[in-house]
Each structure stands twice: as C-alpha cells, then as structure tokens.
Symmetry: C3
Subunit: 214 residues, 3 copies
C-alpha cells in the first residue's frame, strides 16, 4: 500500500514534469523530437540527479524503461494538444507546482529509505523537486524558476521538511506523504495566485552592481 | 575486431567533439587554457554522463587518462590551426555532426553491452551524442543545438534506433555500428545542407507567450 | 595531522565558495531561501561532481550532512551581512579566488588518495575548483568565470599541477597542499589585481563569426 502510493505519486510527478517540459518546448515552437527531449529530461531529471547523488546506480529509468516511454508519450500528446489551453504559461506554472510538490516528498522519501540523515532527506527532496525544472529552464534559455523572486524552492523545502518531520515523529508514511505534498502544493499555488514572496535582500542604491557611471 | 572498431569510433568521436568545443572557444576568442577546458569537456562530456547514469564508475577517462591527454592536444592544436578554415562556424557544424553520429551508435552500444533495455540503449545513444554539445553550448553561452529548429537530436535518435534495431535482429555489430553512424551522419549533414526540418509546433497568434498588451 | 589539515582546507573551501554563491544571490536580490540554495550548491557543487566522477557514492555531504548545515548557516549570515562591504563584486572575486585555490589542491589530493593517475588528479583538481563556480554562474545567469578572458582555470591548473608534481616527487603532503594553494591563489589574485591574461585566440577580422553583410 505504502509502496503503491509512493510509486503512484512518483509516476504522477514524472508525468506532470514531462508535461511542463513539453509546454516549454511549445513556447519555443520546437519540433516533436524537441518536445520528447525536453519533456523527458524534465520528467526524469530531478530523480536522475537524486539517484546519482545517492549512488543508486544505474538510475531508476535504466532499471524501469517505462518511465522513458511514458515521458515520450506525454511529450508527443502535448505536441498535439498544447494549443487547447488559453494560456500555456499559466498552465505550465500550475503543472510545475504539482510536479514540484510531488517530487519534494517522494525525493525525501527515497533518501530516507536509502538510510540518509533527515537533513540530507530534506535537501534531496528540494533537489529532486527543483532540478528537473532547473535543467528545463537552463536548456530552454529561461531564467531558472528557483531564482525568480517567487516562493518556489521555499515550497519544496517546507513540504519536504514537513514530511521528514512527520516521518521522524512516527506518523504513517502515507499520511506524511499526503501532508507534505498538500502543503508544498498549497504554498506554491497560493504564491502564484496571490503573489506571495519572502523579503528579498535589498542593497543600498549606491552599492548596486553594474551601476553605469553618468 | 569488434572491440577495435568500437574503440576506434569512440576515440574518433572524442577527437571531433573536442575539436568542436575548441572551435567554440575560438569563436569566443578564449586563451589556450579555455580551449583545453572547453575542448576537453565537450570531448568527454557525453560519455561521462552516460557512464554516470549507467553506474560504470569511475568514468572512462579516469580509467583511461589518455582521453584527457588527447583532448588537451587536440584543443591546443585547434588554438594554433583554427585560423586556417574560411568559416569556423560551418566547419564546427560538420565536425559536430560527425561526433554526434559516432556517439549515437557507440553510446547505444555501450548501454547494450552493459545489459540495458533496447529503449534505454537508444536513449543512451541520444544522451551520449547530444550532451557533450549541450554542455559546450550552455558553457559557451550559445543556444543548445538540440533546441534550434534543426534536425539534430532527430538524427541521433534515428541512428541509435537503427543500430539497436539491427543488433536486436542479430546483425553483426560492426555492420550495425557502421549503418547507424552513416544514417545519423547523413541525416544531420543533409539537414545542414538542405535545411531539412520537422514541422514545428505552431501556436495560434493570439496565444503567443510574452504578448505585449497594446 | 595530514588528515586534519586536508579536512580543514576542505571545510574552508566549502565556506568561502558558499559565501561566493550567496554573494551572487545578493547581487540578484534573492530571498533567503535563494541564498541558501545558491550558496549551498556553490559550496558543495565542485566536490559533488568530483565524487560522482570518481564513483565515491553516496557523495560526501550525504555521508557528512554537517556540510549542508554549514552552507545554510553561511548563506543565511551572508543574507544579513552582505550589505557591509563597499563592493560585493570585488569581494566575491576574492572569495572565489580562495575557494578555487583550496579546491584545486584538495580535489587533486582526493583523486590521488582514490588511486587516480596524476593527469586525472590534476583534471580533478581543476574540476573541483571550477565547477562549483560554473554551476553558480550558469544558475545565476552570469557568464561562467572560466570563460571570461581572465586567468582563472589557469590558476587552478597550475596549483593542482604543482601539488601533484610535489606529491609525485615525494614531498610531504602538507607542504604540497600549502604550496599548491598559495601558488593558485597568488596567480588568481595577481591576475585580478594587475589584469594578467594569457594571449587570446585572435581571428582575422574577415573571419569573425556573426559578421553582418553590409
């Protein structure tokens, strides 16, 4: 039951992230192979880095090639269906939020199962949640979402931390996964809806970099 | 014989990719250490990611340091000789095409030897073929070739798929390697020569992202 | 004694690189989670890639989570204290130079301990020294320092080579580490102070890329 839920969430995360990658491909007007490439890299990127860091090699999609096939199918479907939504960008951000929240908890969970320290598990949740998107944005030539002045990594951090905290307190894994996911997703979607943000670092004007001399 | 051919192709791929990396360094007017760095990263980048994903660690150039030495020599030679060709950019694209085609088949072959699924082997061919160039382009500040509206990853995908298909059908490995290479190279060089391209995703104008309101 | 010195240098390198990452976050006016993310990735990035290439998995900060905690603390401290220095950019470059020099020797040392070939050890020093900064610059949307027309990778290469050479000659490890560090740091800081540079590749004007036709 636990394994089924975790596996299901993992699959769902891969699908929504693959979609978000394919939607970036649609914004860049790429061809169908570009969709497959960017969708697949985004779908499996975060988990791939997680597995490489943990030393669980070969990485998950080499052991289970169906991940690749699903990513390719989802990316192809997006190629033909992305014209339906009114605004691809808004849709992309929502899909991205769900994928991020799912990977934050499943990434932390995989690290705990591998015997990692709680601090490492939280970091691994954040890495799994954000690095698929980071690779997507770097390859797509967009500014990484984690660097925009938005609550993004923060939501992943909060979700992963809640899940790890609940696990350490002995709460059932399913409960922890669902709680962590809901909180991460809520924080991110709320931030998108109401423009939440943390206070930024503010330099004094005379110290601003790249100041042009008059 | 099989091993000799595969090893030879692998070396040739490293050399032509190192050259393509060093030619990007020449376009950016870097110093000789920049040539060595960008040439070497491009030459060994795709294979390094392949080995890390497959869990064949330490990666190939740690086991066989001569790869590093060859990349450094090729990069230095390019520093002194890159002024000869009339157009570095056109040359770069042709070298890149050969390296891509070579790595598409040798990457897929390494994955098959490691016991990977045919689907994974094709993916590994595409990764080995494209990621050296992706890293080169990201570091060099150019838009990754795989995202340009050109037949690039498509050629790698076709070549790797042909090779894996022939291997699965029991065709001799040398034949498969040569066929896959020739097809990938032909598709890419043909695309460069006659501007072949796959149909792109076309949004309706009113749905274009980044639309400025009047 | 050897181990203590190497461990101390390693820690110091992580701290100064985390600071340099957090200072990029301050220039981009990110929030505190952005500081933690960019500071931590920069602090542990070079060593993480080194460990993945060598196959020493799980990577060092999974085994020793205190690295993550120190990076987070350093990044948070930078969030509150970065306004003190007059010029963040100049400070960033100096911190970066120290981190680079430290990682050049400790990276090469780790590779030697792992039994790598001297050539590989030098390469591993350069990789450990430069890749944290490369990831920082790519994620921060800046042009990688290794590609600017400055003596950067050159300093890492010289420092790592001196250390490996001294080690091969049988010189005590501490002496080698200190010599390599001082030379790498001196070369880089001198280059910053007096604008040292190696001769660049110079194309003939008629061969310049991206030439516009009149």
């Amino acid at each position: 039951m636990i394994d089924t839920l975790a596996a299901l969430l993992d699959w769902l995360g891969v699908v929504v992230f693959a979609t978000s990658g394919a939607l970036v491909a649609s914004r860049k007007q790429m061809d169908i192979v570009g969709f497959i490439l960017l969708g697949t890299i985004t779908g499996i990127g975060g988990g791939t880095i997680r597995d490489m860091l943990l030393g669980q090699l070969p990485v998950f999609w080499i052991v289970a090639p169906s991940y690749l096939i699903i990513c390719a199918i989802v990316s192809c479907a997006t190629f033909f269906l992305a014209h339906i939504p009114q605004s691809r960008h808004a849709l992309l951000l929502r899909f991205d939020a769900l994928g991020m929240a799912l990977f934050a908890v499943t990434g932390a969970e995989k690290a705990l199962v591998a015997g990692a320290d709680p601090v490492v598990a939280v970091a691994m949740g954040v890495i799994t949640a954000t690095f698929g998107g980071v690779i997507r944005d770097v390859l797509g030539g967009e500014r990484p979402a984690v660097l925009r002045h938005e609550v993004y990594a923060t939501a992943a951090l909060v979700g992963a931390a809640i899940f790890v905290l609940l696990s350490q307190m002995g709460v059932a894994r399913e409960t922890g996964l669902v709680c962590g996911f809901l909180i991460a997703a809520t924080v991110r979607l709320g931030a998108l809806q109401w423009n939440w943000s943390l206070p930024r670092y503010r330099p004094r004007p005379e110290l601003l970099p790249k100041k042009r001399r008059p």
